[in-house]
């Protein structure tokens, strides 16, 4: 084939260019240590690398979440175990205090103080914070879950555990809501209907407002002629005392107890105008429901929401005040009749519950957790049926028993403390039994926490394994084989040099060299 002059320069130049291109590409590869710099270098490789990178990021996210979950679970576990130790010491105290030797002197009084201390320790444990969150408060992580009032400790959190996402379809619950501690023990039970408590003269002030009582004691009332009368109810116990106190002063205001509003009513007995009630120290007037100004001469106080307690009079309780008839309970194949008429009709709620508990063996009647009814509890299943009248139905007890978790940690501890103060051996015995249920209950919760923690550990090690595998895969796709690249690089360099040398040697030759 004929070779032209231009080909002599073009052809070697092409070769130089292509070997330079190869050399340059290998150079880029060896300095970046990556197989590709842009998608067109290896589109499928790039796609794979992007996918793996994404999976690695996800894996890191889930690992971090699982680690967090594990910390919360471990914290919960150690707190519950500390609580168990406190409950163990409470139980051994109870065992000590049940004996007759403890009945004398101040032994039980002193023990009550110790129990008080245990209650506070338990409360402080269950109010543990971790990372600035209350771990036993359910979702209300900013609110202290267990708060002490006059009649006990109440739970202010909710029922939902705090969750972490540890997989595309997996959430793990990392905390235990404190409500679990208010419902311990595995028993059979039957709940009554709600019992509405009416206020009466004998309603204790401390039972008002759901058991919160009255905060403060001083307030004043101004009548329509402008007379201001100051009241201090610090020394008084019952609602009747307060009404009598107001009525004992001769001014143009009369107090009474209203059944409609379940509170106090202040009536103007003088010239037309309005009555004004104001606070003087804390919340006494508001808690009594009479803070403010009357309208049309009458101040209808707000509902006083009295708590159902053992001292509450039957006559103040709806569903019971009209008189309760007998009913039957069948337990362990024997039927027992609860007789409210013999020997005498119960006066207080406590009497009422005792009558039931004494009539049926292995059965106990207690005021329920929410304070608005009562529950029949037994370790055996039982059935409630009618005796003569439709009482059981009326009270909502008719039928067979169900699974319930009736014991509250703090409820029982408070009972224990009161039993000691009241020097009530019988109740101390009850408490011992309840404490057993409670301790079993919290150990069950702890077991759940433990198994979640071990599941989290498993997931963490799965994540670890898959992370290693992903990184290996990524490296295979992305990273250059150093030995190969460096070998290729030096080969390319040699090729490039050869191309340059050959090109330069061709140009020298031409007929001109030889013609004279």
């Amino acid at each position: 084939m004929r070779i032209s002059f231009q080909m002599l320069s073009k052809w070697p130049l092409r070769n130089i260019q292509s070997s330079l291109e190869r050399y340059s590409n290998l150079n880029i590869k060896s300095s970046s240590m990556k197989n590709f710099q842009k998608p067109s270098d290896d589109p499928l490789g790039v796609r794979k690398a992007m996918k793996i990178n994404n999976l690695v990021k996800q894996n890191e996210l889930y690992t971090s979440n699982a680690n967090d979950a594990r910390s919360y679970l471990n914290m919960t576990d150690s707190t519950i175990l500390s609580a168990k130790q406190l409950l163990d010491s409470a139980k051994s105290l109870a065992l000590e205090m049940r004996g007759s030797s403890a009945e004398v002197g101040n032994v039980r009084e002193a023990a009550a103080v110790e129990v008080d201390g245990i209650i506070e320790d338990l409360r402080s444990l269950l109010n543990t914070e971790f990372n600035g969150k209350y771990i036993f408060s359910g979702h209300m992580i900013e609110r202290e879950p267990f708060v002490r009032g006059e009649s006990g400790v109440s739970y202010r959190g909710d029922d939902s555990p705090f969750s972490f996402r540890i997989g595309p379809d997996r959430l793990i619950e990392a905390t235990v809501p404190g409500s679990r501690f208010m419902e311990l023990g595995q028993m059979m039970g039957n709940r009554s209907s709600s019992l509405h408590v009416n206020v009466s003269d004998s309603t204790r002030l401390q039972d008002l407002n759901g058991g919160a009582g009255i905060n403060g004691s001083r307030f004043n009332i101004t009548d329509t002629s402008g007379t201001v009368v100051h009241f201090d109810i610090a020394m008084f116990d019952t609602l009747g005392d307060v009404v009598d106190l107001i009525n004992s002063v001769s001014f143009d205001v009369t107090a009474s107890i209203g059944s409609g509003n379940n509170g106090i009513i202040l009536t103007n007995t003088g010239a037309s105008g309005e009555i004004v009630v104001e606070e003087e120290d804390s919340n006494a007037a508001a808690d009594l429901g009479i803070l403010g100004v009357s309208s049309g001469g009458t101040l209808r106080g707000e509902s006083l929401d009295p708590e159902l307690g053992l001292e509450t009079l039957i006559s103040d309780i709806d569903l019971l005040d009209a008189g309760v008839d007998n009913f039957n309970v069948t337990i362990e194949d024997e039927t027992y009749t609860v007789d409210f008429h013999v020997p005498d009709y119960p006066v207080t709620m406590g009497d009422f519950l005792d009558r039931i508990s004494e009539s049926v063996p292995s059965l106990e009647a207690k005021i329920n957790q929410d304070g608005d009814g009562f529950t029949l509890i037994s370790e055996e299943s039982f059935t409630v049926s009618e005796h003569s009248a439709a009482t059981a139905d009326h009270l909502g007890l008719l039928g067979g028993s169900m699974d319930i978790q009736p014991y509250s940690l703090f409820g029982t501890m408070f009972d224990f403390m009161e039993a000691l103060r009241d020097n009530d051996t019988g109740r101390i015995e009850d408490v011992i039994g309840e404490l057993d249920h409670i301790i079993d209950g919290i150990l069950e919760i702890d077991a759940e926490v433990g198994s979640k923690a071990s599941r989290t550990e498993n997931i963490l090690s799965e994540l670890e394994t898959s992370k290693v595998r992903l990184e290996e895969d990524l490296s295979l796709v992305e990273d250059v084989n150093i030995a190969e690249v460096l070998t290729d690089l030096s080969e390319a360099k040699v090729v490039y040099q050869a191309a340059l040398q050959t090109a330069s040697s061709i140009y020298d030759l031409s007929l001109l060299n030889y013609m004279n």
Binding site: Q6, I141, R165, S510
Partner: protein, 456 residues
């Protein structure tokens, strides 16, 4: 019959023939580096002989033709392949720019921005009441929006740069068409008069035709007068000395008018076949538009699925708040209400502080398959877009390389026929030098003869 002066005349022709050759050789040597130059050679033939009583007497030499080495076959092949190469080259350039815009794989690309967005929601889930976690969600959302905007506007800039190129190249195409028409005129004129082949002018025309075929695919048909007619996709563009000017036509496709080429003054577009212009148009309407649509789709999916969850969430001012506003990649933004007040970023459905279920649901979005996208997740949608660009780009680059190899081969064959070989020309140089010297020697002898006669 012969005559002494006849001898001089024959000699004169000899000398001139050698001079023609020397001149042509000189021309070849001078043009050794001229691109597209076809070497020329002078062809001789014996002059018409005279009849004499004793036989046929030769009359020396004459030039039959100054021939241009012809490789029209290869020239046309090369034109076709150049068109294809320019086509792929243009596509490869556009795709290469798109790869740079998408910038994957990298820590700074869209994939990273999406991952960071979901990571910030996970941080919020671990600490649902935290102010700083919300600020961080807002920040990562802002970065995501910014990424969308910048990619979208870069793609738009690429589009308008392509349009500008289309405009410019159409103009230069017109200039080239005008030049062809002019050359047609000259070549036809010269060849009509006497010249057998207007070699240099043809070289020039071939060069212009090659330039044109970079831009569009042309069919060249030569007529018997030496003019060429040019056709683009069957439509006649140049006929003898006339040509039709091309312009750009705006055709309203979607919401923005698109630029195409067409006859100037017409409102209808012309299919440019293949070549750089056609490829620019196709890349713009194909790869670029696809990429923009994918990006818009991804933005739309993010906006609607994030909002669907966030709307059901609880904020201190109630539910029903959108997290994102906007409809596509150009206008995606954080909702104004949330910009003003980041406590409106919801992490729960029911308002309890520790309920992180909404935030957890957001995190799960990253792995959810999106309806209507054949069970792809958000990340897979994006990976597919990048991958498609990569595949097209790699393909274009391979095609360019292939075409280059084909072209190299063809050009080599053409050069082999038409190219100047220095050694050859130098040999010719001495050859013609010697024949000139020989003719001169004969001239000398003949002069002597004449002198002899005159001295008689």
């Amino acid at each position: 019959m012969t005559s002494l002066f006849g001898l001089i005349e024959m000699n004169r022709r000899s000398l001139f023939c050698s001079q023609y050759s020397l001149q042509t050789t000189n021309h070849n040597i001078s043009n050794v580096n001229t691109p597209g130059y076809s070497r020329q050679e002078v062809l001789y033939k014996a002059n018409y002989p005279s009849r004499t009583g004793v036989g046929i007497l030769g009359n020396g030499v004459t030039v039959s033709e100054i021939r241009r080495a012809n490789s029209d076959f290869y020239t046309e092949q090369i034109r076709r392949e150049k068109t294809l190469k320019s086509d792929w080259d243009a596509a490869s350039t556009v795709l290469g720019k798109m790869e740079i815009i998408f910038n994957e794989p990298s820590e700074n690309g869209m994939a990273s921005a999406i991952e960071n967005f979901f990571q910030s929601w996970n941080d919020l889930a671990s600490d649902p009441s935290s102010e700083s976690a919300r600020a961080s969600v807002k920040e990562s959302a802002r970065m995501l929006c910014q990424k969308f905007h910048s990619m979208d506007s870069s793609l738009m800039e690429l589009e308008s740069s392509i349009n500008q190129q289309i405009n410019e190249k159409t103009e230069s195409l017109n200039e080239m068409l005008a030049r062809v028409a002019e050359l047609n005129d000259q070549i036809a004129g010269d060849e009509a008069q006497m010249v057998k082949t207007a070699a240099d002018l043809r070289d020039e025309r071939d060069r212009v035709l090659e330039e044109i075929s970079h831009l569009v695919s042309v069919d060249v048909k030569e007529d018997e007068f030496g003019s060429v007619d040019l056709y683009i996709n069957g439509r006649n563009i140049v006929h003898k000395t006339e040509f039709k000017e091309l312009g750009t036509v705006l055709e309203s496709g979607t919401d923005e008018p698109d630029l195409y080429i067409g006859f100037k003054g017409s409102h209808r577009s012309l299919d440019a076949g293949s070549g750089e212009l056609a490829s620019l148009i196709q890349s713009r309407d194909g790869y670029l538009t696809d990429a923009r649509e994918s990006l818009d789709r991804i933005a739309e999916v993010i906006i609607s699925s994030v909002n669907e969850i966030h709307n059901r969430g609880w904020t201190p001012s109630g539910s029903g708040y959108d997290f994102f506003e906007g409809t596509d990649a150009s206008d995606i933004r954080i909702a104004q209400a949330i910009e003003d007040n980041s406590s409106l970023i919801a992490s729960s459905y029911d308002g309890t502080v520790g309920d992180n279920s909404l935030a957890n649901d957001m995190v799960a979005l990253a792995d959810q398959t999106i309806s209507g996208e054949d069970s792809q997740t958000l990340n897979e949608l994006y990976q597919g877009t990048v991958s498609a660009i990569g595949i097209h780009s790699q393909n274009a680059q391979n095609m360019v390389r292939n075409e280059q190899l084909i072209l190299d081969n063809l050009e080599m064959r053409k050069e082999s026929i038409t190219g100047v070989n220095m050694d050859e020309e130098l040999m010719n140089l001495s050859k013609y030098q010697q024949s000139y010297q020989a003719a001169a020697k004969v001239m000398d002898v003949v002069s002597g003869l004449i002198q002899t006669v005159l001295d008689m």
